[in-house]
């Protein structure tokens, strides 16, 4: 395997606030990329994966959140990792490829040989060093991480067709209406600097003649300005699709877990996936319960060092507890995320739920979900500062911030 002598650079696309209301109510006060999965901010998982990249010069986060949303995080993680991490803000969305092109001068500052690009809302093992080895062998301008999924679920993503022998990307279709392939684009890429020429080519071709683009009527209604904006370039439809089959793009398969984190329900599922991955990559992060006054831990559990758990509580599997949380005597926690400063009082039970910052769950209360991560109301989500009074049962509900529940509720959104 040839080692790369030159520098490498990584880019994580983090998106922005106007793009989705799907992460409400958790997104009211916190940028989605900073929401914790398995005890670490969502964006931290791809960032930590970048440690596998040799000669990594810089990590960039590109998005259109306010700068101040990321200032503290970025300086903290830079210090911890000893690799510079910078947040670059687009004043207006340029599309996933347009954003890369817009900041190309910065990205090329260290003359990188390879540019790693990842979507922040992808949950996977980020096999970057193996992917790099394959990329260097292929000698194309880009390598995509791909995975085989079920035929039904494939249509939610970008479907790809690859040559089984050479690994070349032959065909790309984004969210096709009819079946194209069971292989999907995972949203993790390695490019060479030639990608910028490809993006520029698309943008200038746009200026010369109109492109026939399949556009949903929703897009047509809402994005009338964007569709004519020459510098709005999407990686998938505008770059990968035309370049497929031209011996420039290649694929690398992963058989590990892969999910997209679009909704709070999925964040609960992905938190469990990352907790399971800690067994291999960071076993010290998982709670062991070996001290005499420890609570009982079952399966994968993450507990922030400042959280306090009574020794009669039973926690897990698949539980993540954030800083300053207090778990009282006799509490049972299953498949849940407990955010900062939460108090769970005696003998309460929380299962398949997300309990928002500073919330309080009363004694013998039960906060539960059916555990369907993709349904609209399949888990319970308590927003910030929600109080569930003693003995109240909350099932499959979404509760907005600052509410007090003194009666049992189920299958409801509570404003």
């Amino acid at each position: 395997m040839a080692s790369s002598e030159g520098a490498n650079v990584a880019v994580i696309m983090v998106g922005g606030p106007t793009k989705g209301t799907r992460f409400r109510p958790l997104s009211f006060n916190l940028a989605k990329p900073l929401f914790p999965l398995a005890g670490q901010p969502m964006v931290q998982h791809p960032i930590l994966a970048c440690k596998k990249i040799p000669n990594l010069a810089q990590i960039y986060l590109i998005g259109f959140y306010e700068e101040r949303d990321f200032t503290l995080y970025v300086s903290a993680i830079s210090n911890e990792l000893k690799v510079p991490v910078r947040y670059l803000r687009e004043e207006k969305p340029h599309g996933s490829a347009g954003g890369l092109y817009y900041f190309r001068d910065l990205l090329m500052e260290e003359n990188p040989v390879n540019i790693f690009v990842m979507n922040c809302d992808v949950c996977c093992s980020f096999p970057l060093s193996d992917m790099l080895a394959a990329h260097l062998k292929y000698k194309g301008i880009g390598t995509l991480l791909v995975k085989k999924v079920s035929a039904e679920s494939a249509s939610e993503f970008g479907e790809i067709v690859a040559d089984a022998e050479t690994g070349e990307l032959l065909h790309y279709a984004e969210k096709p209406e009819t079946f194209v392939s069971e292989w999907i684009n995972c949203g993790v890429y390695i490019f060479t600097p030639e990608i910028f020429l490809a993006i520029q080519g698309v943008a200038s071709e746009r200026n010369n003649h109109g492109t026939l683009r399949r556009v949903s009527s929703f897009e047509a209604l809402h994005f009338t300005t964007k569709s004519t904006q020459a510098d709005f370039v999407r990686l998938d439809q505008d770059i990968l699709t035309p370049l497929a089959g031209k011996r420039k793009l290649y694929t690398y398969e992963t058989q590990d877990f892969w999910e997209q984190i679009k909704t709070p329900g999925m964040s609960l599922k992905c938190s469990s996936l990352y907790l399971a991955q800690y067994r291999l990559t960071a076993p010290d992060l998982l709670a062991k319960g070996d001290k005499s006054n420890s609570a009982k831990f079952v399966g994968d559990v993450y507990v922030h060092p400042s959280a306090k758990i009574h020794h009669t509580a039973k926690v897990g599997p698949n539980v993540s507890i954030s800083g300053s949380a207090r778990i009282g005597p006799g509490v049972r926690l299953i498949g849940c995320i407990i955010l900062d400063d939460v108090e769970i009082k005696e003998n309460a039970l929380i299962s398949h739920s997300i309990v928002g910052w500073k919330s309080i769950v009363g004694r013998w209360a039960r906060v539960q979900g059916v555990g369907d991560y993709t349904a609209k109301l399949g888990i319970t989500i308590l927003g910030e500062d929600v109080q569930v009074e003693d003995e109240v049962v909350v099932t499959n509900c979404i509760v907005l911030p600052h509410k007090t529940l003194n009666l049992s509720v189920h299958d409801e959104i509570i404003l």
Binding site: T21, S217, I398, K403, L415
Partner: protein
């Protein structure tokens, strides 16, 4: 004279409107809710108003400064850091409310819209000479509320009964009080309920009197009651200031329209409609029993009944909106779509019809 307005917390019952503005600043009849009360207090000579809040977004402060300047009345915030109930805030604001003059002070509930018969309350209070006066209003279904059992002639209050199972009376607490400074001596600095702890004691000593509310009264803390309150308010406006209402061939019943709003031809507006500043109502629109907040655009041929459309939203051509639909700020309903009781959070685009009442996050 001084007054205290109980503003309380996050206004969650009035979501999604209160996701954009704190409840006191949500517009009612084209005026921030709290301004209705502050103006009424100013009119009878109150010089200083304390707002008891336990959630203080900075938005409130800058608006309050504007009100202070334009009305010439002092407005102070008293912030509870833990919920103090309905009486605790009074203890918290003690130093402002007691100014040594011995004058009684008003306590109003910020969710209540009414005719504010404050002058009559003052006369009533002087006449009976008791320690506290409360305003009560007659309702059809008293068992939903706390009933005030009183002597019909003198107004002396015997007792309070919370949600009575049998009929004990049909007057409920209207959330407006006039209290002598001594009342504050009865309130400890802890979460306290004025109805459950303070008033019953004063009633026992035969010093609490109730005056029956003349005129309309409504607790507008939730969307359904907000619209009912608007109807009552506009009826009252018809009697007191009919020139403020809109008239014309396109108007039915009581309709209030801000001067800067534009209304196209062949519309039919009313009854009980309020249209805010900078709204654009295009040709052929039907509006009935609804509130259209500032900056909303209602496109041609649309029909909006019994709903609230939040600031800067859009209702598309031929769209039909009805049955207690509430749009938060910046919600856009596509052409030809139907919303039957949709409750939509801010910053959303709706491209499919909402066939039965539901919340869109």
């Amino acid at each position: 004279m001084k007054a205290l307005i109980l503003v309380g917390g996050f206004g969650t019952r009035l979501r999604p409107l209160t996701l954009s503005l704190p409840k006191p600043l949500v517009d009612f009849a084209n005026k921030p809710m709290i301004l209705h009360q502050i103006e009424a207090l100013k009119t009878i000579g109150v010089t200083e108003v304390v707002l008891a809040i336990n959630y203080q977004p900075d938005v409130m402060l800058s608006c309050l400064q504007e009100f202070e300047a334009s009305l010439g009345i002092k407005i102070v915030c008293s912030r509870e850091y833990e919920p103090m109930g309905t009486a605790g805030p009074l203890a918290l604001a003690r130093d402002t409310l007691i100014d040594g003059s011995g004058d009684p002070f008003f306590v109003l509930n910020s969710d209540v819209i009414s005719q504010y018969p404050l002058k009559q309350m003052m006369e009533f209070h002087k006449t009976h000479g008791g320690e506290a006066s409360i305003l009560v209003t007659k309702v059809d279904e008293p068992s939903k509320y706390g009933v005030v059992v009183m002597d019909e002639l003198s107004g002396r209050v015997h007792r309070f009964v919370e949600k009575p199972q049998v009929f004990v009376g049909n007057k409920i607490n209207a959330g407006m009080y006039l209290l002598n400074p001594e009342v504050l001596d009865r309130i400890e600095m802890r979460p306290t309920s004025i109805e459950k702890e303070v008033f019953p004691k004063i009633a026992q000593e035969n010093k609490l009197f109730a005056m029956v509310m003349p005129g309309f009264w409504m607790d507008i803390g939730q969307p359904k009651d907000y619209l009912t309150g608007l109807k009552l308010y506009l009826e009252s406006l018809r009697k007191t200031h009919p020139e403020k209402l809109m008239d014309g061939p396109n108007v039915l019943g009581n309709v209030l329209v801000d001067r800067s709003a534009q209304i196209g031809d062949r519309c039919l507006i009313g009854p009980d409609v309020c249209i805010g500043p900078d709204c654009i109502i295009e040709t052929g629109v039907r509006l009935s029993r609804c509130t259209i907040m500032r900056g909303v655009k209602v496109k041609r041929h649309a029909c909006i009944l019994g709903s609230i459309i939040g600031w800067h939203s859009t209702v598309g051509q031929w769209a039909r909106v009805e049955n207690m639909t509430v749009f938060g700020e910046d919600v856009h309903l596509s052409d030809e779509m139907y919303s039957n009781g949709g409750v939509v959070l801010p910053h959303k685009q709706i491209n499919t019809s909402i066939l039965s009442p539901k919340i869109l996050m």
